[in-house]
Symmetry: C2
C-alpha cells in the first residue's frame, strides 16, 4: 500500500480522510483494513480512531462525499429549463466522462455500497422525485415517442458509465492499454450524443 500523494500542508485529519477515500474506493468496505488506510496516510493506526472514532464512521464520511460527487453536478444540468434536450445530453455525457476519467473506481464503489444500503441514496438526493420532476425527464417525455423516458435514461447512463466498470475486463480481452482506453472514452463524448439523437429519432 503506497503512501497517498498529499499536499505537505494537509492536516493529519485531511491526510487520513484522503487515504480513506483512496483505499475504500478501491477495495470496498469489507476488504479494506484500517491498517491499509493508516499506512497510506503515513500515520499510526491509533490516529485513525483518534480522529474518526471507527472504521465505519470514516467510511460513512467518505461515502457522503462520493455520493455528492456522483450525483451533485447532475442536478443543475437536468433542472435547467433553458437548455435543449440535446444540449443536456451532451452536458451529461461530457461531465460524467470527465468525472469518471478522474475517478475510475467511483461507479463500482457507488453501485456496490448502494446494494448494501439502498436508503442511503435517498438521503443523498436533494429532494424526493429528484429525477421525475426534472426538465430532462419532462423533455424526454415530450418527445411523444410513446416510450418510457427512464428506458432512455438507463441506456445513456449505461453507455457512459459501463465502460468504466468493464475497464479491467475490456483491457484484458482486447489488449487495450490505459492510453488507448482513455482515448476511447474521449471519443465517446462525441459518439454517445450522436447515438442518442439517432435513438430518439428511431423510437
Amino acid at each position: 500500500m503506497k503512501k497517498v500523494t498529499t499536499e505537505p500542508t494537509q492536516s493529519t485529519e485531511e491526510r487520513i480522510m484522503a487515504a480513506g477515500r483512496e483505499v475504500f474506493t478501491k477495495k470496498g468496505f469489507a476488504a479494506t483494513r484500517t491498517r491499509d488506510i493508516a499506512e497510506a496516510a503515513g500515520i499510526n493506526l491509533a490516529l485513525l480512531n483518534y480522529y474518526f472514532r471507527s472504521k465505519k464512521k470514516l467510511f460513512d464520511l467518505v461515502m457522503i462525499g462520493k455520493l455528492q460527487s456522483f450525483f451533485g453536478f447532475i442536478g443543475p444540468i437536468i433542472y435547467n429549463d433553458k437548455t435543449s434536450l440535446e444540449t443536456k445530453i451532451e452536458m451529461i455525457v461530457s461531465s460524467y466522462t470527465s468525472l469518471l476519467m478522474e475517478n475510475p473506481d467511483l461507479p463500482y464503489f457507488i453501485l456496490g455500497e448502494a446494494r448494501n444500503n439502498p436508503e442511503l441514496m435517498l438521503n443523498a438526493m436533494p429532494k424526493k422525485d429528484f429525477l421525475k420532476k426534472s426538465a430532462f425527464i419532462r423533455q424526454l417525455a415530450n418527445k411523444k415517442t410513446g416510450q418510457d423516458p427512464y428506458q432512455f435514461l438507463l441506456s445513456i447512463l449505461g453507455m457512459i458509465i459501463f465502460p468504466f466498470l468493464m475497464k479491467p475486463i475490456f483491457k484484458t480481452l482486447t489488449n487495450t492499454n490505459d492510453a488507448k482506453f482513455k482515448q476511447m472514452m474521449i471519443q465517446r463524448v462525441k459518439l454517445i450524443p450522436n447515438w442518442c439523437k439517432a435513438m430518439l429519432r428511431a423510437s
Copy 2:
C-alpha cells in the same frame, strides 16, 4: 442468512457449492464468512473445509462457474458466420437479459472480482483474441462507418447490463418495484436492438 432452497437429493457437497454460489455472488469474497455459507447450506462449518479445503478454493470454483455462465453462451452467437449482424444483436440482447433476470447479482460479482484478478478473465476465455476474431466484430467493422467496433460493443453491453447493476439505485430513485423493473427489462429486449439499428445507421 436463510437456508438455500435445494433439491433434497443434492449431495452435501452440492449443497455447500450452491450455498457458496449464493453467498459469494451476493456479498463478494471479502464480505462473505464461511459461517454464512455453512448456515445457508444447512451444514456444519467443518464440512466446508472437509469438502473444499478452504474458503478461497471454494470461491475459485464458484468463480469459474460464474465466468462460464457469463461468457459461455456468447461464443456460439458471435462466431456464427450464418447469422446477420442484426440477428446477432437480437440474440445477444435476449440471451443476456434472460441470464441476468435469473442472476441479477452476476454482473456486479464478475466485474468486481475481475478488478482483483484481471488475468482470471483470460483463463476463462476459450482462446486468445476471442472477441477480435469473431464474426460479430468483423461484421461490425464491415459496416465501414469508420468507427471502432469496440465502441459499439461497449454501448450494447452497457445498455443490456448496466440497468441490472443500477437496479438498487434505480428502484430507490424512481419508486420502481420488482415487477415493474422486470417488465422494463423485458421491454428492453425489443428496444435495444431497434436503438442499435438506429445507431448503426447514424454513424
